[in-house]
Structure formats: structure tokens, C-alpha cells
């Protein structure tokens, strides 16, 4: 299994911006989630973020909230999610990051939780309601067991906080591009460019930008501003949930490819530009 750090290392060597799609486990069902993981892996994803459905997703907007509610109503349990990941992860090129709120981790116990997700083949962890001050108890055991815990930086974070978060964050630094919850938005705030530059001066760790990115043009914009990774969530979750499971999987396949194209520098174009 590739670690998140190694994955970024090889992307950097190829000067590529990573594409990180997000989907909610168990929506519409875990079979479809398994299929979706494989399809995303083949359609250009470099890392895949898998959301564990939670009853009170404070950091999520309406699309991911609704997906989590549907998944829980279908009876999706953490053990089922991890069993599915265990069977699918060996077939994937992309490492899997689990996106989960803190209470399910605390409830299982930090050590047992980490061991179980490691055994299932998970490479990283994002916990949106665990800020730096509360993260110490998770960071150390996760490092020992080999799970990258990626911390989040927000537009409201001070320079001191950004520096401290960048120092502790593993795998990459997750820059939240909006003051707000997850969800699709019409534009990307221009201050993201400044934030990227600011963080870049404080750390050489890769920076992934997420929350609010839903179109190829926005992804390209963020890549052009210097992001090492673009994270797209609600736009995938919504497409996967529309129509039959097969239609959903087909839709995210196409969407993933179009995002990948948008953030990949096109050698053919460069070549023809030089010819001119």
C-alpha cells in the first residue's frame, strides 16, 4: 500500500497536481461504493477520500449530509465499510483516506480504530472536527501505526496556527477554500491564492485544496494557483446519487476524467504552442 506522502512524492517528480475525489460510503449502497472506488481509480484519481457516514456531520453541507443520512438509514455500519475497503483496496492504485468525524473514532477507542483501518488498507485519515489542540492523542499513535493524519487549515487560521498545523499535518495539508461547510459553489474565493502562497512559505509539505470545488474550471484555477492536490466532494456525491447506481457510477467516471484533464498540463497543446 502506498502512503499518502509517497504518493505526493511521485506526483511531484512528475510535476502533477493530484486529483482527490470524495464519496460517501454506503450511498446508495456499499456494493456501489466498491464499484465507484474502482472506477475513480481508473478514471484519474490519485488518492480517494472515503466519507464514513455520521449522524451529525457539522462540517458538511446539504449534499453530503443527505448522503450520510441515506447511508445510515440503509444500515451502513463502520465494520461493513471497513470490510468493503479491505476487499477493494488491494485492487486500487490510489491510496484511500478515510474522512470521519471524531466520535466514531473515540467510541471504538483510538488504538483499536487505527489498527482496524490499517488492516483494511486505509492509508490516511481526515477528521474535520479535530483541530490541532485536540489532535495530539490521535497523531502519535497514528504515526506509530503508519496512518497519515492530515490536518485542516482554514481561511480564518492565523499565520501562527498555519505554521503549527503545517508542522503536525501528515501526508499533506488540507486547505479549506471557504469559510463554510462542504458543498458546491459558483466561484472560488480569490484569497485561496494568497493562502496557498502563505502556506507555501511556511512549509514544503504538499497542499490540497478542498470544500466548494465542483467544476473542472475551478479545479484548474486552484491548480494554477499552485495547489498540489484538488479535492472534490459534493459534486461527486451528487452525481453518484442521481438515477440508478449504474448511471451514478457512469456519471462519476466521466466527471472524474474531465477533472483530471482540466488539472493535467496537456503536452500536446504545449507542443503545438511551441510550433507556433
Amino acid at each position: 500500500m502506498t502512503s499518502i506522502s509517497d504518493c505526493f512524492k511521485s506526483l511531484r517528480e512528475r510535476r502533477n497536481c493530484a486529483l482527490i475525489p470524495f464519496i460517501t460510503a454506503g450511498d446508495p449502497d456499499l456494493e456501489t461504493t466498491a464499484k465507484a472506488l474502482q472506477v475513480l481509480d481508473a478514471a484519474g484519481a490519485d488518492i480517494i477520500e472515503l466519507g464514513v457516514p455520521y449522524s451529525d456531520p457539522l462540517a458538511d453541507g446539504p449534499v453530503i449530509q443527505a448522503a450520510a443520512t441515506r447511508a445510515l438509514q440503509r444500515g451502513t455500519r463502520l465494520n461493513h465499510v471497513l470490510e468493503m475497503v479491505q476487499s477493494v483496496s488491494p485492487t486500487l492504485r490510489s491510496p484511500i483516506i478515510l474522512f470521519t468525524y471524531y466520535n466514531p473514532i473515540l467510541n471504538r477507542g483510538i488504538q483499536p480504530f487505527l489498527k482496524q483501518i490499517k488492516d483494511a488498507g486505509v492509508a490516511g485519515l481526515v477528521v474535520p472536527d479535530l483541530p490541532l489542540e485536540e489532535a495530539a492523542g490521535l497523531l502519535k499513535p497514528a504515526a506509530e501505526i503508519g496512518i497519515d493524519v492530515t490536518l485542516l487549515v482554514a481561511p480564518t487560521s492565523s499565520a501562527e496556527r498555519i505554521e503549527a498545523i503545517a508542522r503536525q499535518s501528515q501526508g499533506f495539508i488540507y486547505l479549506v477554500s471557504v469559510t463554510g461547510v462542504t458543498g458546491m459553489r459558483s466561484g472560488i474565493e480569490t484569497r485561496v491564492e494568497d493562502l496557498l502562497q502563505q502556506i507555501r512559505q511556511l512549509t514544503d509539505k504538499p497542499i490540497g485544496v478542498g470544500f466548494g470545488i465542483s467544476e473542472p474550471e475551478q479545479a484548474q484555477q486552484v491548480k494554477d494557483w499552485g495547489a498540489d492536490a484538488v479535492i472534490v466532494g459534493s459534486a461527486f456525491v451528487k452525481r453518484l446519487a442521481d438515477g440508478t447506481p449504474q448511471q451514478g457510477v457512469d456519471a462519476i467516471n466521466q466527471f472524474c476524467q474531465s477533472l483530471k484533464t482540466a488539472i493535467t498540463s496537456n503536452p500536446a497543446n504545449n507542443f503545438s504552442a511551441e510550433e507556433d
Binding site: Y54, S55, D56, L58, A59, G61, Q65, T69, L72, R77, L78, Y102, N103, P104, I105, L106, N107, R108, P128, D129, L130, P131, L132, E133, E134, L151, L152, V153, A154, P155, T156, S157, S158, R161, I165, V176, V178, T179, G180, V181
Partner: protein, 418 residues
């Protein structure tokens, strides 16, 4: 009927066990903390700094004290409930002497305005022009709408759709005062879901908005701030007890949902080891059914709405939907300091059912001419179980935290169906 056994140790714990000041991370023992998205961390720091700056500021205190007196109507009376006392008297004439701390006589009809008023004065000093709040029973929403009208601030109240129906009177009051009431349909459409939605609003608008959280719950510094702004309840009680009988109360009794009225009464007396502190939770249809809100009685340690505390949750750590006839107690979490007081055995927590509470509401109405809120009625109901266990004539102070006008439809419906 309470299904909760009495604590084997009803003796107060020693004072060493009582940390009344949370540590730098906002913890009471293991409880509390700041489990929130990074976006909110600077706002919590800003709020804490503003609170530390103004809590003892003479200008802030002068404005607050004057408004508490002239606008809210403080001090509230400590009333000797003579006929309720007689109701529980033993044949030899001894028995609990029952006093009601009349928070129901505050402007807007509940204790909630103590905190809403003080927080709005803080918000003004932080230059926030927009106020948001969550509400369950609507009392905190009404209090917030009231102070926003008084100070000319934009006000958005999040309220679960189920609560909007059962507390429609309060919805109308909020709108009359110019607040926007936003229905929350997620989950069960109750206080938990309204709180989540208020937090999402705050994450989105944090730079212009102050969130007036209405209980001693949520991330630090809210449990401390809300408690301190309600501590006036206990402070007045101490003075009034001294005037009336020259001593301390023996037992303090209050209902606990998030736990703000209970903390407001308890805080002044936590260090007085002779004073028994008793919190009463909502057992709904019974703690052995799936329909209750008895978090401290039946929950396990978890994290909800930014704080570590007791929590009603399933095997996977998913939060369970609570149930209570009282919208203000219908919450699967509880303030972290209550978890701390429970674990350190300084306070005791029990629960009473919906029907216990309705019976107590009727009893107080008929014996004293006071219709309490359904929340408050839970504290009153516990007298049925407490009084037979007492010897002598201890003085009990019950926090009569709110008036029951808002609940008459709910009670009428309950009595029709029972």
C-alpha cells in the same frame, strides 16, 4: 416513576474534586474541549479574549447590571411554596421546606435571558452585527430575539420543525420581535439538529456573526461563559437564603437538558459541601425504552457539538435521537461540567418521565397557582421521589426556570391521549 436507582453515594464529594475553572483547553476533568472545524477556532479564541477582557470591566458590568434590573426584572424572588410544602409534610408536621427560585418571572418568562442579554453586550463590543442562536423550547430563541430587538441587531434563530410545531407560540413571539426563524428538518427536527445547523451557519458567517449558544454546552468557552452569566441565580439564592433563614439551602434541585439553569443555580454552591446538588433529566417514556433524553443516566462519554461529555449514542458512536415531551430537554448531549460533577460525585442526577412531569405541572398549578414550563416540571416532579427519602425538614430550593404558557397545548394533547 423514576427507573433510576438512587446513587449509592449521596454524600457530597470533597471540595478537592471540584474544578470550577476549566483548564486552558477548556476542560473540566476529561470533559469539555474544542472539537470544532478549524474555521471556528479563531472565533472561539476571540470570544474567550473578549470575555476575559469584559467580565470584570466596570463599564460592561454597569450596563449589564442595570439592564438585568430594569429590563429583565432581577432580582427574582425566592418564594416559599407553602401549599406544596404542606403537600409533602409528614403527619408530625416535619418535611421538606420547599422554595422556588422564580426565574419564570424574568422578562420573556425564563432564565434564558440572563445569558442572551450578557452575550449580546459582548457581541456589541466585538462589533458583530448579526446574531444567530439555536432553540429547542423556544425560550432561548425568544430571549435572543428579545435582546436583538433591544439592540437593533440582525437575528436568525434555528429551530427544529417538530419543535416549531409544539412551541408555535414562541415561534410567533420571535417573529413579532423581528427575528427570522429558520426551520431545521434534518434528523428528528429537534434541538440537536437546530444546534448543528446553527454551528454550520457560524462556520460560514463567522467573520460577521456572533453565535449566542443557549446552554452550558458546545465548545469552550461557551460552557464557562453561559454558566457564569447564569451564576446570578445562585448568587441571589445565597443572599436570599441568608435573609430568610440565616443559612444555606440543604438541597438544590433543577432540571437538566443541556443544563444551563442547573449550572446557574449550582455554581455558587459547588464548594459548599453541605449543599446537595440534584439534577433531573427527562426520562421520556422511560429510560428502558428507546424514547428518553436521560443523557447522564444512560449515556456514554462522547463528543457532540464541540464538547466531550456524556452522550446518547449507539454501538458505532452515531448520536441517538432523544425524546422528551419537553422540547427544552429533548437533547442527546449535556453540558460538560455536569458530566464532571457527576463523575466527581459532587452532584447527583436522576430522571423522571413525561407523565411524571405533566402530573407535577398540574400539581404546582393547583397548589400554588404557578404553571411551570414542562422543563421545570421535571425538577418539581422529582419531589415525589426525593421527599419520602428525607428526614427532618431540610430546605430545598428548586429552580423554577420558566413559565408554562408555551406548553399548554402540549399538555392538553397529552392529557387527552392519556
Amino acid at each position: 416513576m423514576t427507573l433510576t436507582p438512587l446513587s449509592s453515594n449521596s454524600q457530597p464529594a470533597d471540595n478537592q474534586a471540584s474544578t470550577q475553572t476549566p483548564d486552558i483547553l477548556g476542560r473540566f476533568g476529561q470533559f469539555g474541549g474544542k472539537y470544532v472545524p478549524e474555521t471556528l477556532m479563531p472565533a472561539l479564541t476571540e470570544l474567550e479574549a473578549a470575555y476575559q477582557q469584559y467580565r470584570n470591566d466596570p463599564g460592561f458590568q454597569a450596563e449589564l447590571q442595570q439592564l438585568l434590573r430594569d429590563y429583565v426584572g432581577r432580582a427574582t424572588p425566592l418564594y416559599f411554596a407553602e401549599r406544596l410544602t404542606a403537600h409533602y409534610a409528614r403527619p408530625d408536621g416535619t418535611g421538606a421546606q420547599i422554595y422556588l427560585k422564580r426565574e419564570d418571572l424574568n422578562h420573556t418568562g425564563a432564565h434564558k435571558i440572563n445569558n442572551a442579554l450578557a452575550q449580546v453586550l459582548l457581541a456589541k463590543r466585538m462589533n458583530k452585527q448579526r446574531i444567530i442562536a439555536e432553540t429547542g423550547a423556544g425560550q432561548h430563541g425568544v430571549a435572543t430575539a428579545t435582546v436583538c430587538a433591544r439592540f437593533g441587531l440582525d437575528c436568525v434563530i434555528y429551530m427544529g420543525v417538530q419543535d416549531m410545531e409544539r412551541q408555535s407560540l414562541n415561534v410567533f413571539r420571535m417573529r413579532l420581535m423581528g427575528a427570522e426563524v429558520r426551520p431545521v428538518a434534518a434528523g428528528t427536527g429537534t434541538l440537536k439538529d437546530a444546534t448543528s445547523e446553527a454551528i454550520r451557519d457560524w462556520v460560514t458567517n463567522v467573520e460577521t456573526t456572533h453565535y449566542i449558544l443557549g446552554s452550558v454546552a458546545g465548545p469552550h468557552p461557551y460552557p464557562m461563559i453561559v454558566r457564569d452569566f447564569h451564576a446570578v441565580i445562585g448568587q441571589e439564592t445565597r443572599v436570599q437564603a441568608m435573609e430568610k433563614w440565616g443559612g444555606l439551602p440543604d438541597i438544590l434541585l433543577a432540571c437538566v437538558g443541556g443544563g444551563s439553569n442547573a449550572m446557574g443555580l449550582f455554581h455558587e454552591f459547588v464548594k459548599e459541601s453541605s449543599v446537595r446538588l440534584i439534577g433531573v433529566e427527562a426520562a421520556g417514556e422511560g429510560v428502558n425504552t428507546e424514547k428518553h433524553a436521560a443523557t447522564l443516566t444512560m449515556g456514554r462519554v462522547g463528543v457532540l457539538h464541540g464538547a466531550m461529555s456524556y452522550l446518547l449514542q449507539d454501538e458505532d458512536g452515531q448520536v441517538i435521537e432523544a425524546h422528551s415531551i419537553s422540547a427544552g430537554l429533548d437533547y442527546p448531549g449535556v453540558g460538560p461540567e455536569h458530566s464532571y460533577l457527576k463523575e466527581s460525585r459532587r452532584a447527583e442526577y436522576y430522571s423522571v418521565t413525561d407523565s411524571d412531569a405533566v402530573a407535577a405541572l398540574q400539581r404546582l398549578a393547583q397548589l400554588e397557582g404557578i404553571i411551570p414550563a414542562l422543563e421545570t416540571a421535571h425538577a418539581i416532579a422529582y419531589l415525589e421521589f426525593l421527599c419520602p427519602q428525607l428526614s427532618g425538614s431540610p430546605r430545598i430550593v428548586i429552580n423554577c426556570s420558566g413559565r408554562g404558557d408555551k406548553d399548554v397545548h402540549t399538555v392538553a394533547k397529552f392529557l387527552e391521549n392519556s
